[in-house]
Amino acid sequence: MADPLILFRTMLTIREAELALARLFADGEVPGFIHLSVGQEAVAAGVCAALGPQDSVASTHRGHGHAIARGISLEGFFAEVMAKSTGLCGGRGGSMHVADLQRGMLGANGIVGAGAPIALGAALAQRTRGTDGVAVAFFGDGALAEGAMHETLNMAAIWRLPLLMVCENNGWAEFSRSDTQVAAKLGAWTAAYGVRHVEVDGNDASAVAAAAEDAVAAQRHGEGPRVIEARTHRWRGHFEGDPQRYRDPEEAARMAEHDPIARSRATLLDAGTPAATLEVAEAEARDAVATAIAAARAAPPADWMAALSGVYAPAGA
């Protein structure tokens, strides 16, 4: 069972980091495009709580939460999205490519649906090497319209690979409702491939963690792929700066009722966790983010000469 306080802390860190990113983006300190997962933190926190260091995660364009839940360095993360040489990727990738291979974080991905076959390959590597590791592919409800998703589930099913596919179903695919784009219900889709589908409340980190732990435990003992569908809400625009003309403003108010962090907090208090403990956790998350941002600000900009020689391995490597 995942410790609810740890889940709470992970979600807080993601929320603090992303709200800080929103400010940095508005102030021009973060260039490019960023897609925030505010409101969806329970999925990243819950799934990653079920994983160990030997497991791999392939993420999406909305991947900050997955990376943070995987335990990447916050300083490396901010330095990356702030385009600094000390970034996890030396400032060459940015928000859509945050990766930390040492920690089994195979990268966010700028291509919808592209993380799934990469996770498939990671799962294949686990099985080929005879480990008990698993690979997770996070994907959005809109990504189900991509062919690579179907190829991936089929291959994982015929080969019985330890691939856990986690759908963050927020109802939206960019500016469109995903149910106008994807004919299949996720459960029916997975059933067609003989793959087990589990639906969870994606705003309840403990429920997500329980579903992920159950799947991962089975997979460590040889079970094949599984799909978890976590229903959740995307609180902000598709990207920062999205005017969201396509969306009813009422929706935002309703979403806040399902805030995974507020829920986690209330549950912890009910279970007798002292309020002071939660306040300390909140302060620590804020401090960790502030410290990381300060370090990233002080870091030198991304290095062009290093980038230029970074396309291939150095000769003789």
């Binding site: 996890l88 060459r92 291509i111 076959p117 498939l120 390959g121 990671a122 590597a125 970074g310 391995a313």
Partner: protein, 324 residues
């Protein structure tokens, strides 16, 4: 020394690499039990088992995507795409993922995978089973592209490709699969990016790769009857390519023709011509000429396909024209 067909040389390189390194695995459609559509993987599943020689469904995007993920996770996958025409279905994994991972992740890790795929016409295979699409891949920073013309080079280049820490595409000319040639029992390792002088000469340089190397050699033999000695350079590696060897030859012959089976426009030859027009400008005593396929899809009918494909006569004519 053994005489092997090119397809057997590929098989031998796979066998050796898999024997030496148990992280090498093979993926592809009908490569296992069936031994591969062209027989390149014959016998390997019996030898190394179905986990290391994995028959895949007909899912090119999935195959190459999985190869990327496996390569990022410590394996060295060698994927086969049955015809080069089918790489279109795997382009995201190849171009956006494999090629970029090392750079985009700040050098944390490379993608040590190989994609083997046959190109080329001459078999009446029609517009979707004959294309030479290597120039697309040469245009992508992060990929390496090699194309052997002989069994010995097919063996050596594949060994080098599997050992390489970055993604390498080995393009195999399917009309050459049956070609026989000597392969050393323990050849010296070949470095990707080194060309080979296939035939020495002093009057003109013909740069070629794959099947065009043989047409160029045939053209050189014909030209020799008129006392024109053409040097034929077999590029072997297209990305990176051996600028120094080409320039050195041009500095002796002062005339350059580039021959390829692929469509001439925007091809490998265009890049070589542009570079030599720059760094070799002072050496040139005639126009740099290209010989390649016309700007049409590869046709099916024998008559049409033979009109379409470049040959020794067209290469010889180009050499005469630049010497004129």
């Amino acid at each position: 020394m053994a005489e092997l067909r090119m397809v057997q040389a590929v098989n031998r390189a796979l066998t050796e690499s898999m024997t030496e390194d148990d992280t090498v695995i093979l993926l592809g459609e009908d490569i296992g039990a069936a031994g591969g559509p062209f027989g390149a993987t014959r016998g390997l599943q019996e030898k190394f088992g179905p986990d290391r020689v994995r028959d895949t469904p007909i899912s090119e995007a999935g195959i190459i995507g999985a190869a990327v993920g496996a390569a990022l996770s410590g394996l060295k996958p060698v994927a086969e795409i049955m015809f080069m025409d089918f790489i279109t279905l795997a382009m995201d994994a190849l171009v956006n993922q494999a090629a970029k991972a090392r750079f985009m992740f700040g050098g944390q890790r490379g993608v040590p995978m190989v994609l083997r795929t046959p190109h080329g016409g001459g078999l009446s295979a029609g517009p979707q089973h004959s294309q030479c699409l290597e120039a697309w891949l040469c245009h992508i920073p992060g990929l390496k592209v090699v194309c052997p013309a002989t069994p010995a080079d097919a063996h050596a280049l594949l060994r080098a490709a599997i050992a390489d820490p970055d993604p390498v595409v080995m393009v195999e000319n399917k009309a050459l699969y049956a070609m026989k040639g000597e392969v050393d029992d323990a050849p010296a390792p070949l470095q990707i990016g080194r060309a080979r002088v296939a035939r020495p000469g002093r009057d003109a340089t013909i740069v070629a790769y794959g099947a065009a190397v043989h047409w160029a050699t045939e053209a050189a033999t014909a030209l020799a009857r008129d006392s024109i000695e053409a040097e034929v350079i077999d590029l072997r590696s297209l990305q990176p390519w051996d600028e120094a060897t080409v320039l050195e030859s041009l500095a002796r012959t002062h005339h350059l023709v580039i021959a390829q089976e692929a469509v001439e426009a925007f091809g490998v030859g265009a890049e070589i011509a542009a570079r030599m027009a720059d760094i070799g400008f002072d050496e040139l005593d005639g126009p740099i000429l290209r010989v390649g396929a016309p700007f049409t899809p590869v046709p099916f009918a024998k008559e049409l396909e033979s009109a379409y494909r470049p040959d020794a006569a067209r290469i010889a004519a180009a050499v005469r024209r630049t010497l004129d």
